[in-house]
């Protein structure tokens, strides 16, 4: 406690921190960026290893061999799907029942808050079909799920067929200790959502669904399968779930181990692993893979059907078959064997996957960065905010820190009233509430008065409110009594800095990527803003680093990274659709990114905007 109680040493420390504040902040920022970029450098990452005993040591021999039959089934399924013009429920029920499963259906319907133009749906009505294979070896207390979405068109037929073939094969084995649920869901995530809510007796998103008739034990793990061609070149593992949640790393390790064993090419973020980490290309490749993961995680949406399982504490991942122009092809039997092996190992689990990491970034499938390694990058950014706050506190003439001795303190200047802080705080939060509520609620009015579709109306209203918020400082000033004082903005900035630090800290804990991206764009400008800077220039910089522009940059960077660069116009359209998807994800699945941005981050940014226009 020497530091906390000895006034002389404290004085020296605070003196140092205030004198060198700006250099320290700059160093911290650069260090954060370097640290983050260094995470992808292979010697700094850890080799992934299987932590779960139950899955590590046991050997499994894969015997699945009915790949050909699966392909035939896929054709049959495709024909029935075309005939039914959607999901061939009766055929599926019959097919599952004939394979000895207990089959149940669940119907659901959902009206979207506004039409989804990407997937062209508004009123969604569908049916989930699922069959339960009862475990012969154990009481029915635990279950595993294998799911395949029934997508429109001809895609994903092979996945459903492989699911059925696996069901038939699994039925004849005696070693199952967990019930296995085979789920074919319609309307991708909406179907999964309805099924999960039905299974767990919850209703958090206002979905209408019929109750489930059959049920197995508590679900331990889930695999989602997406497969659209008879042969594939590689398998892609998708981990990012709702709100940036990730499954236990052991699930990824399991997938990687079986890919190695069966000689299947495996990718993550669609990128193959490279072995030349010591070359510039090798490093760039790893960095790109990691950046893609960061961007996908930050957007908080579920990148596959597995993403919704994570919320129910079920470890889940999507496995996506990719068919590209490589010569080396893998047939469907091998994929079946891979799944068989994975499910058998999961079947051996004695408790939920919990041994390995939940917080990680993957620069490649065999390497990972754990929370202890990546958090410092964020910590360095958060420290900047705290240092600036400390600096302001000292300048505000707080006796506690300027002159640790209250004795030498001169007459305290009269402190600014609570109102100087409270007014901007309340007004910017009200704007945030408007940004959160109005777009969806005003769509009808907007459609009536302007020649736009509902979706466009929602997105454009959101952008309009966002822009209108920029006009606020003048109105806030009018509400305040008298001129803004020097003390006033300092107090406001102190409050806003601490607020932002707490906000970003909480965000980074739940979703590191989102917290980090927001921090790296918001911290520099918020740390340096004062009313004395050249107004026009700083205003432009501030707007360019505001949350909305961050989303825009992310869109462009993402497109660049997946090697599908877009022009400005296309980028703008993508940006609009990202906003509408964000709002839809919030309404449909409870994704928190949109409310977080609208209700907290944006108002916080507005407070700094207020500081810029203080006088």
């Amino acid at each position: 406690m020497g530091l906390l109680s000895d006034p002389n040493r404290r004085k020296a420390l605070t003196g140092l921190l205030t004198r060198l504040n700006t250099p320290i902040c700059v160093v911290c920022f650069l260090a954060a960026v370097v640290w983050f970029m260094g995470l992808a450098f292979e010697p700094f990452t850890l080799r992934s290893y299987m932590s779960e005993n139950a899955m590590g040591s046991t050997m499994v021999e894969e015997r699945f061999s009915s790949g050909e039959r699966a392909l035939a089934l896929a054709k049959e399924f495709g024909a029935h799907k075309r005939k039914a013009g959607g999901m061939p429920v009766d055929w599926l029920v019959k097919a599952m029942r004939s394979r000895g499963l207990e089959v149940f259906t669940q119907s659901f319907s959902r009206k979207l808050p506004f039409p989804d133009e990407n997937k062209e749906r508004y009123m969604v009505r569908g049916t989930n079909v699922y069959g339960i294979l009862r475990a012969p070896r154990a009481p029915r207390t635990e279950a595993l799920v294998i799911t395949a979405p029934c997508s429109p068109g001809d895609s994903n037929n092979q996945a459903v067929a492989l699911l059925l073939a696996l069901a038939q094969y699994f039925r004849n084995q005696v070693y199952w200790a967990k019930d296995i649920i085979f789920l074919v869901n319609e309307h991708d995530l909406i179907g999964t959502q309805a099924w999960l809510e039905g299974y767990h007796h919850t209703n958090i998103t206002g979905m209408e669904y019929s109750p489930l008739q059959g049920r197995a034990g508590s679900i331990q793990a889930a695999l989602s399968l997406e497969l659209s061609s008879d042969v594939i070149t590689s398998l892609d593992l998708v981990l990012e779930g709702l709100n940036g949640q990730l499954p236990n790393l052991d699930l990824a390790n399991l997938f990687y181990a079986f890919c190695q064993k069966l000689g299947v090419l495996c990718t993550i973020q669609g990128k193959l692993q490279r072995n030349d980490w010591d070359t510039a290309e090798g490093y760039t490749h790893a960095a790109q893979t990691m950046m893609l993961m960061v961007l996908k995680q930050a957007c908080g949406r579920s990148w596959g059907d597995h993403g919704l399982f994570l919320r129910y504490h079920i470890e889940a991942a999507s496995i996506r078959g990719i068919n590209s122009f490589r010569h080396y092809k893998t047939d469907i039997t091998t994929i079946g064997r891979l799944l068989e092996g994975m499910v058998r190992k999961l079947n051996n689990l004695l408790e939920r996957l919990h041994q390995s990491y939940f917080f990680y970034l993957l620069p490649s499938l065999s390497r990972f960065v754990s929370i202890g390694y990546y958090m410092p990058a964020f910590g360095l950014l958060a420290v900047i905010l705290l240092l600036r706050a400390l600096d302001l506190w000292v300048h505000l003439g707080a006796p506690a820190l300027t002159a640790v001795d209250g004795v030498t303190e001169a007459e305290q200047p009269s402190s600014p009233g609570v109102l100087t802080v409270l007014t901007p705080l309340v007004i910017s939060h009200l704007t945030g509430v408007a940004l959160y509520l109005l777009p969806v609620h005003l769509q009808e009015m907007a459609v009536e008065h302007f020649p736009v579709s509902e979706t466009e109306a929602v997105v454009l209203t959101a952008i309009a409110i966002y822009t209108a918020g920029l006009a606020l400082p003048h109105n806030t000033q009018r509400l305040l009594s008298g001129e803004g004082t020097e003390q006033g903005w300092k107090v406001l900035k102190l409050t806003a800095l601490l607020y932002l630090a707490v906000l970003l800290g909480c965000t980074a804990l739940i979703n590191f990527s989102l917290g980090f991206i927001l921090a790296i764009t918001l911290v520099p400008i918020t740390a340096s803003i004062t009313p004395h800077m050249p107004k026009a220039l700083s205003a432009v910089v501030m707007v360019l680093l505001s949350p909305a522009f961050t989303i825009l940059y992310c869109v462009f960077i993402y497109q660049e990274l997946i090697e599908a660069p877009v022009s400005i116009g296309e980028g703008w359209m993508l940006f609009l659709s990202v906003i509408s998807q964000g709002i839809l994800d919030h309404a449909l699945y409870g994704s928190l990114v949109y409310p977080l941005l609208a209700l907290f981050i944006y108002p916080c940014w507005l407070m700094f905007w207020n500081i810029l226009f203080w006088n």
Binding site: H354, A389, A501
Partner: protein, 435 residues
């Protein structure tokens, strides 16, 4: 001053009424930071149901309120929300009046000391002016009523609010000078949650000071008054306990309330220090460690009473803070009670050293509690260590806050007797160091 207080009460009641009607109330009443197994409303309802069925409410291991509390709600269960709002109002008004009396007292003493030239000449800027003291009682009431912690606690219908009301009334009666009422209310507070027992010392010191009886064990008047006050206290404690026995016709409540508080069998996470340790520890050390942990609350009474025997009101503040940090099932409602006193010590501000650090820590922890709880319980990706780390940090912040105020108080007193500008023996300027 009545008008601002009324306005404040109206605002506070409105906020609470709105929150009671919103969907937030249900979420808040499930938060472990806001309700503990001792004071959760869910458990009160369960106890009432058992009572109505003619079963002892203490059968089973759910209900841990005192018999008085269950009979209070037996009659007012339909108006529970109003009861909790009134309790908060009573606490605020009692604190308001107490601080008003205390300030008058302080000012009077200061005037006498000033007239008899007891302060060193350079200390005049340390003296308190009526102008700055005028709004302090209102600020105290505001700190209590508008503190988010109090609001959460009230909306969750945590019976902590009622305990706070009793303690606030006790403080009011003590400062008012009524030994009888003070003793009875202290007994009631002790009966509710044991820990206010430690407030006996400051109350006694206050009365002794008020009656100009020196704290001297060789004087008979000291013993006479001490015994008198102790008799009131113990007598009313016996009467209250006896009454509880007659209300329920059994002694079931003793192990179920006091045994529960002292032996800490329920390890639901909360903002306190107990749960994690007791969950981790070997069963055969349990008795030893529960003694070690419980002794914390009571132990500090002795040194603090000796050090602060001239300043019983500050001692009350210190004791309440210590109770809320070291009690076995603390909630944010307990924290709110001692935080309400902070404006009363606003003149110590210039001597506080860590207030920036402490406020950052408390602010960050309050935000991190729900986040880490979510990660641990719902997402399953974090674990209890994460949550406990925040609990530790929160308590570290509280301890730092309390010790900072303690140091500042002592320092001001030191300056008032020795002058503001201290000099070392060699004539250079000296600084005070707490080691």
């Amino acid at each position: 001053m009545a008008a601002p207080l009324t306005l404040l009460l109206i605002v506070a009641v409105t906020i609470r009424a709105v929150l009671f009607r919103s969907s937030l109330a249900e979420i808040i009443s499930e938060r472990v930071e806001v309700v503990s197994p001792l004071n959760a409303w869910k458990r009160v309802v369960e106890g009432l149901a058992l009572l109505d069925l003619g079963v002892s409410p203490y059968s089973g291991d759910v209900f841990h309120e005192t018999p008085f509390m269950i009979y209070l709600f037996h009659f007012t269960v339909d108006y529970a929300e109003i009861v909790f709002m009134i309790a908060d109002g009573i606490t605020a008004v009692a604190l308001y009046l107490s601080v008003q009396i205390y300030n008058k007292d302080v000012f009077r003493k200061q005037k006498y000391a000033l007239e008899s030239d007891r302060y060193p000449a350079d200390c005049l800027e340390l003296l308190r002016s009526p102008k700055e003291m005028f709004y302090i009682p209102l600020k105290v009431a505001m700190f209590y009523l508008l503190n988010p912690f109090t609001i959460l606690s009230c909306v969750a219908k945590s019976t902590c609010g009622l305990n706070n009301a009793i303690i606030a009334l006790f403080i009011f009666c003590t400062l008012k000078g009524s030994a009888l009422l003070s003793g009875i209310l202290l007994a009631l507070a002790t009966y509710q949650s044991i820990y206010p027992l430690t407030l006996f010392a400051p109350a006694l010191l206050f009365f002794l000071q008020r009656l100009y009886i020196p704290v001297n064990p060789r004087r008979s008047s000291f013993w006479f008054f001490t015994l008198q006050y102790a008799f009131i206290y113990v007598g009313s404690l016996v009467v209250i306990t006896g009454l509880s026995f007659f209300l329920l016709g059994s002694w079931d409540f003793m192990p179920s309330v006091y045994g529960f508080i002292l032996s800490v069998p329920d390890l639901t996470p909360n903002i306190g220090l107990f749960w994690y340790f007791f969950a981790e520890m070997f069963e055969h050390f349990r008795l030893f460690f529960s003694c070690v942990f419980q002794i914390n609350v009571f132990f500090y009474t002795i040194p603090l009473s000796i050090k602060l025997k001239e300043h019983p009101v500050f001692l009350i503040f210190m004791q309440i803070a210590i109770i809320s940090i070291f009690k076995s099932y603390p909630t944010v409602g307990d924290v709110a009670l001692y935080m309400a006193f902070l404006p009363a010590w606003s003149h110590l501000y210039r001597f506080l050293r860590n207030i920036f650090l402490v406020s950052c820590v408390l602010l960050a922890c309050s935000a991190l509690f729900p986040v880490l709880w979510h990660l641990w319980i719902y997402a399953g990706s974090a674990n209890s260590n994460f949550y406990y780390a925040i609990t530790l940090l929160f308590n570290f912040g509280q301890i730092l806050l309390v010790s900072d105020y303690f140091y500042a108080y002592l320092r001001r007193e030191h300056h008032l007797t020795h002058g503001l500008y201290l000099q070392k023996k060699d004539g250079t300027e000296a600084t005070l160091v707490l080691k």
